[in-house]
């Protein structure tokens, strides 16, 4: 029993089909409960009701970065061990990551308008998220531009590796370029929580919910990709017969 068993598409389809309803239900319960709980929290004494955007903003931003890391891992597995499921999972995850990045940027803008007095500021965190969005767009565009599926998987995997290095490099280069307006981390392992428990627990719940939501969406999209691949194989066989 090892994770590599799921490189077999049949095994992957069977297991993912069995656990998908549970993950989907968990995602729905956590996200809906967390958001509803977050919506019913009292207003912050300085930020007023705008503080509630945090329950969308933080989980989306967190997932935007985590999804890129997951794509990097999947690309490496594809390049090293040539497991097709891994390449398809990376392909399936990219649009979800792009949407998460977009949610992070938009909710940030909606919050920034009343709080900072501006929709957009060239702050290092905001800027590096915009750059991350560009990398997502380039990655998705490359997937859709290359016709041969194996070449597309190879090229996007190489792009993901190079892009990861440069996304990280840009993250620190923009620190050099402009000083920040965005606040530092409110939750961190080293310095402990700097956030009231009233907001913290619903936030944990939505973070868990967004993680499960990504997992469910990713599995659905990967299963679709595998089915699409099977369909193409069947059509090719029919043409040859």
């Amino acid at each position: 029993m090892s994770i590599w068993e799921y490189a077999n598409p049949v095994k992957f389809m069977r297991t993912s089909g069995a656990i998908l309803p549970w993950i989907g239900a968990g995602a729905a319960v956590c996200t809906v409960t967390g958001l509803a709980w977050g919506f019913l929290t009292p207003d912050d004494y300085r930020q007023g009701s705008t503080v509630k955007i945090v329950f969308l903003h933080v989980p989306a931003a967190m997932m935007a970065i985590n999804i890129w890391v997951m794509m990097l891992a999947a690309s490496l597995i594809w390049l090293i061990r040539r497991h097709h499921v891994s390449a398809l999972a990376a392909k399936a995850a990219a649009p979800i990551g792009a949407v998460m990045t977009l949610i992070g940027l938009i909710t940030g803008a909606v919050w920034g308008q009343p709080m900072w007095g501006t929709w957009w500021e060239w702050d290092p965190r905001l800027t590096s998220f915009l750059i991350l969005l560009l990398f997502y767009i380039g990655y998705i565009a490359l997937w859709s531009a290359v016709e041969d599926p194996d070449s597309a998987a190879d090229l996007t995997a190489v792009l993901c590796l190079v892009g990861s290095v440069f996304a990280l490099l840009s993250r620190y280069a923009v620190l050099f370029w402009n000083q920040g307006l965005h606040q530092g981390a409110s939750l961190s392992v080293q310095s402990g929580e700097r956030m009231s428990a009233v907001y913290r627990y619903p936030l944990y719940l939505t973070m868990l919910g967004f993680g499960l939501l990504f997992l469910a969406l990713m599995l659905v999209r990967t299963r679709t990709e595998i089915r699409r691949r099977r369909l193409a194989a069947l059509q090719a066989r029919e043409l040859r017969a």
């Binding site: 531009a145 070449s151 190489v158 792009l159 590796l161 190079v162 892009g163 440069f166």
Partner: protein, 218 residues
């Protein structure tokens, strides 16, 4: 390798247009900017470093698809891939040829364009040094983008979408260096960052570009 370099340079000079086009584009860009923001030197001077670097970036981008596309069409890229020269070396040489034909003319012409944009004379050395150190990274990253998109029909637009985000760190440190030269600040820190990026790119990207080329030649 030297033979390949000389062949690429000769092709770029003789095959009409490729050689001076980058500089001409740079000139047009620098002369259009004052129409957009006004001829006032107070308005031009602060944005001059950014415009100069953006111009270099876009001029470099214009000729990127030529790095591999023509050789891919007539099949000489397949010959290169099967030759005893490692493909990584061929990629590096082709990026070098691209830099000599577009980067170097830009650097030579840059002081002139700096004057057009009212860049003070004190900032000219930092402009030259930043371009000299930064543009090799642009050519090398461009070669990577060109290698990824070489077999595609609508590669041009995709190429710029893939390559431009990779140029961000170079752009940041390049303009910062000129800005510090302009204001008499310490230009060594951005210069070191810029040189570090270029050195890292030159060391690693040939392998990524060669891997992408192998996939496209499969």
């Amino acid at each position: 390798m030297i033979a390949l370099l000389r062949r690429d340079l000769r092709l770029a000079v003789r095959a009409g247009g490729g050689f001076g086009l980058g500089v001409a584009f740079f000139l047009i860009l620098c002369s259009l900017v004052p129409f957009g923001v006004g001829p006032d030197s107070g308005a031009l001077q602060p944005i001059a470093p950014g415009i100069l670097w953006l111009g270099a970036l876009l001029a470099c981008l214009l000729s990127l698809d030529r790095i591999f596309a023509l050789d891919h069409e007539d099949g000489s890229l397949d010959l290169l891939a099967t030759s005893p020269l490692p493909l990584e070396g061929a990629v590096a040489i082709k990026a070098l040829a691209h830099w000599i034909t577009t980067g170097l003319p830009l650097i030579v012409a840059a002081p002139l364009f700096g004057i057009l944009l009212h860049l003070p004379a004190g900032a000219i050395p930092s402009l030259l040094v930043s371009l000299l150190v930064g543009t090799p990274a642009l050519s090398m990253l461009g070669a990577f983008g060109a290698a990824v998109t070489v077999g595609l029909r609508r590669g041009g637009l995709l190429l710029s979408l893939l390559v431009l985000p990779l140029y961000i760190p170079t752009l940041i440190f390049g303009t910062e260096m000129i800005r510090r030269g302009q204001q008499g600040g310490d230009a060594a820190t951005p210069l070191l960052f810029l040189a570090g990026i270029t050195a890292g790119v030159l060391a690693v990207i040939p392998f990524a570009a060669a891997a992408a080329l192998r996939v496209n030649l499969r």
